[in-house]
C-alpha cells in the first residue's frame, strides 16, 4: 500500500510544473533538420536553435550528417520527407533542383537574401546560401616553396593529397587536373591521366581523413578547405596556403526545404536567419565564411576568412549542371583507375 498525503501530491505537482517550465517547447511541433555535426552543431545549439524554437513554437530535432546522406532519404520518401530542412552543398542543391526535390525558392519571406553576395543568390545556385568555402592550395613550407601553379604539385618527391572523387572538392581537383592538361569540364580524361602521373598520390576520403593526413605530416601539398588549413596553421603546424595563378574554386553551402516537408514557414524563417548577420557572426570565429555582405569582422579575423566582395569575386565556381550527370560514370572510372 503506497501512502500519498497532500504534501506529497503538492510536491509531485511542483516537480511536474518545474519540469514543464524548463521545457518551453513541450508539446510543440517537431522540426527536423539535417545538419553538420561537430563545431557546427555546437554553434547551432548555443546560438541559433533556442531563438528559432521559441519564435516558431517548434522543437528542433537534428540529424547529423551531410548532403549526400540526406538526399537519398528525401528521394526515398518524396511524399513525406524525413526532414523539414537540410544543409547541402551547391552541387547537391543543383542535383535536387533538377530532380524536383525542393520547394520553390521564396525570397519574399527571406529578406536577408538581398544582403548576400550575388554569386550566392538563389537564381545563381538554387538554395539559401549561408557559407562560402574556398578550396585553397595547401602546402608544407618545409618541403616546398609556395606553389605558383597547381601544376607545381606534380613536382617529383612530393606527397600530394588527392581528394576522393566522392566529394565536391574531389570532382573539382579532378577538373583542375584536366584543365592543366588540355582537358576541360567536358573532357575529364586528361585529369585522370594526370592524377595517375602524380609521383606519390595520397587519396583522402572526406575532411576528417584529409585533416588527419595533414596533421600527421603524410601529405606535403593538397587542395583542401582553406578554413581547415587556417585552423592547423593557428595551432602552430608547419603549413600554409596560397592561391595558384589559375585561381581557386569556391563552394557555397546552405539550406533547402524538401518538397512536401511541412511547416514551410518555419523552414523559411530558418533560411532567413541563416542568411542574416547575427547567425553568420556566431559562426565566424570558427572560420565559416559569411555569405552576407553586412557581416562585419575585425581585421585579424577577416584575414582568415573568404571575406569581402573582391575575394568572393576572385573565386571560380564549377558548373554542376555539367558535372552532376557524370558522377556515376566518373566514380566508376575512378575506382577502375585507383582502387583494387
Amino acid at each position: 500500500m503506497i501512502g500519498l498525503n497532500r504534501r506529497d501530491l503538492l510536491a509531485g505537482a511542483g516537480v511536474l510544473a518545474a519540469s514543464m517550465a524548463v521545457r518551453p517547447a513541450f508539446g510543440a511541433e517537431k522540426f527536423v533538420i539535417g545538419t553538420f555535426g561537430g563545431t557546427y552543431e555546437k554553434i547551432l545549439d548555443a546560438s541559433v536553435i533556442p531563438g528559432f524554437e521559441s519564435a516558431n513554437n517548434v522543437k528542433v530535432q537534428k540529424e547529423l550528417g551531410w548532403g549526400s546522406k540526406f538526399i537519398p532519404k528525401i528521394i526515398a520518401s518524396r511524399k513525406n520527407p524525413p526532414f523539414n530542412l537540410v544543409y547541402i552543398n551547391e552541387d547537391e542543391a543543383i542535383f535536387g533542383q533538377n530532380a524536383g526535390l525542393w520547394e520553390d525558392i521564396d525570397t519574399s519571406s527571406t529578406p536577408n537574401v538581398n544582403d548576400i553576395y550575388n554569386v550566392c543568390k538563389p537564381d545563381v545556385v538554387p538554395m539559401y546560401t549561408g557559407i562560402i568555402y574556398e578550396f585553397t592550395c595547401a602546402y608544407n613550407p618545409e618541403k616546398m616553396d609556395a606553389p605558383k601553379s597547381w601544376a607545381d604539385l606534380w613536382r617529383p618527391g612530393l606527397n600530394v593529397g588527392v581528394p576522393h572523387i566522392s566529394s565536391t572538392y574531389g570532382m573539382i581537383f579532378l577538373m583542375i587536373a584536366a584543365q592543366l592538361n588540355g582537358g576541360s569540364i567536358e573532357n575529364l580524361d586528361p585529369g585522370f591521366k594526370a592524377l595517375k602521373d602524380l609521383p606519390n598520390m595520397k587519396i583522402y576520403k572526406g575532411v576528417t581523413d584529409g585533416f588527419g593526413k595533414f596533421q600527421r605530416g603524410e601529405v606535403d601539398a593538397a587542395l583542401f578547405y582553406r578554413h581547415r588549413i587556417q585552423i592547423l596553421k593557428d595551432d602552430g603546424l608547419g603549413i600554409d596556403f596560397t592561391t595558384p595563378s589559375e585561381g581557386t574554386y569556391g563552394m557555397r553551402t546552405g539550406v533547402q526545404i524538401p518538397k512536401n516537408a511541412g511547416n514551410v514557414a518555419a523552414g523559411l524563417d530558418w533560411a532567413n536567419r541563416m542568411m542574416g548577420p547575427e547567425y553568420q557572426t556566431a559562426f565566424a570565429p570558427k572560420l565559416y565564411s559569411p555569405s552576407n555582405k553586412n557581416v562585419s569582422l575585425d581585421a585579424g579575423l577577416a584575414a582568415k576568412h573568404v571575406y569581402g566582395q573582391d575575394k568572393v569575386d576572385s573565386l571560380r565556381f564549377a558548373d554542376w549542371n555539367i558535372l552532376n550527370p557524370k558522377k556515376s560514370e566518373l566514380i566508376e572510372k575512378w575506382n577502375k583507375e585507383f582502387t583494387g
Binding site: D209, R216, P325, N335, T339, G340
Partner: protein, 299 residues
C-alpha cells in the same frame, strides 16, 4: 476392445491437441520476430530487388523499367568481377588470419584456470568494446607514413623512407581480423570445451606424436568450431563497410564500399541495388558451400 480403442482415440486426440497447442505457441513465439524480419528485411529486399531492374537516369535518378542490364553489367564488366574476387579474397584472408591467431588462443583459454581464462577472454573480447571508428583510427595512427611503426623503422635505420603499411588490402585485412577475432575464438572455445581430455591422454599413452594428436584427433573434433567461426568471420568481413573505407585509404574497394558510393554519391540506385543482390548471392553461396564442407554427421 472398444473401450481400449476409444481410450487410444482419446490419447491420440489429447496428443493432437497438445501438438496443435505447441504449434500455436511456437507460431505466437515466432510471430514478433517474423514480423520484424518481414518489415525490416524481406520487404526492403523486395523493394531493392525491384529497383535493381530499373534504369539509372542522371536527372530522374531512375526510370521504371524491367531490364537485366545492371546485372549483366556486373557480371561482364571485368572491374566488377575483380571487385567480387577481391571481396572474396578479403573474406578468406581475414578468416585464415583469425583462424591462425585464434586457434592457439582458444586452446590456451580452454586449458587455463578459471581466473586466467576470464582474463584472456576479456582481452580477446576487448576489440568489441571499442568504438569501430576509434579503433580504426588507432590503426591509422600506428600504420601511417608518420605512424608509430614507421617512426621506429626509420629511427632504427631499417629504411630511409616510410614503408607502405597503410592504405592497402593488407591493412584492411588486419583491421578486420582485429574486430572479428573474438567471433572465431568464442566459436572455437565452445567446441574445445567439450573435447574429452581423456582422448588426448589415451593417444599420448599410446605413443602418438603431438602433431599426430593434433592432426588426427584435435583438429577433426574442433572442425565444427572452425566452421562456425569461419562463417561468422567471412560473412562479417565481406559485408564490412567502415573498416575498408577508412583503412583502405581510398585504395581498396569492396562490394560494400561500392554499394555505399552508388547509393549516396552517384545516386545510381539501380546499380547499387544490383550490387546488394550480388553481395547477398555471394553470402548465400558461401553458406551453402559451408554447410556442405562442415556437414555434421548425425548418424
Amino acid at each position: 476392445m472398444t473401450v481400449v480403442t476409444s481410450e487410444m482415440n482419446v490419447g491420440e486426440r489429447l496428443d493432437q491437441i497438445a501438438a496443435s497447442r505447441r504449434r500455436k505457441l511456437r507460431f505466437l513465439q515466432l510471430t514478433p520476430i517474423a514480423l520484424l524480419y518481414f518489415a525490416g528485411l524481406i520487404l526492403p529486399y523486395l523493394l531493392l530487388l525491384r529497383m535493381s531492374f530499373n534504369k539509372y537516369d542522371a536527372m530522374l535518378i531512375f526510370k521504371e523499367t524491367f531490364s537485366w542490364a545492371n546485372y549483366s553489367k556486373l557480371l561482364t564488366d571485368e572491374f566488377y568481377l575483380k571487385i567480387v574476387a577481391e571481396t572474396i579474397g578479403l573474406g578468406l584472408a581475414v578468416t585464415l588470419a583469425t583462424l591462425i591467431l585464434g586457434y592457439p588462443v582458444a586452446w590456451v583459454i580452454v586449458r587455463s584456470k578459471p581466473r586466467t581464462k576470464s582474463l584472456i577472454l576479456a582481452a580477446v573480447l576487448s576489440p568489441l568494446l571499442i568504438n569501430l571508428v576509434v579503433r580504426t583510427y588507432g590503426w591509422i595512427t600506428i600504420l601511417g607514413d608518420n605512424g608509430l611503426l614507421n617512426n621506429w623503422i626509420m629511427a632504427w635505420g631499417i629504411s630511409d623512407t616510410p614503408l607502405p603499411f597503410s592504405d592497402n588490402f593488407w591493412t584492411v585485412v588486419m583491421g578486420l581480423a582485429h574486430v572479428t577475432l573474438p567471433f572465431m575464438v568464442l566459436s572455437l572455445v565452445s567446441v574445445m570445451e567439450s573435447l574429452p581430455a581423456n582422448i588426448i591422454e589415451a593417444s599420448e599413452n599410446l605413443g602418438a606424436s603431438t602433431w599426430r594428436i593434433f592432426k588426427d584427433i584435435i583438429w577433426p573434433l574442433t572442425w565444427p568450431g572452425v566452421g562456425a567461426g569461419s562463417i561468422l568471420v567471412f560473412s562479417f568481413s565481406i559485408s564490412a563497410f567502415v573498416t575498408p573505407a577508412l583503412l583502405g585509404g581510398g585504395r581498396v574497394s569492396t562490394i560494400s564500399t561500392l554499394i555505399y558510393e552508388q547509393f549516396t554519391f552517384s545516386v545510381n540506385w539501380p546499380l547499387g541495388s544490383a550490387l546488394v543482390f550480388l553481395l547477398l548471392a555471394m553470402n548465400m553461396v558461401v553458406i551453402l558451400l559451408h554447410s556442405q564442407l562442415f556437414k555434421q554427421d548425425h548418424g
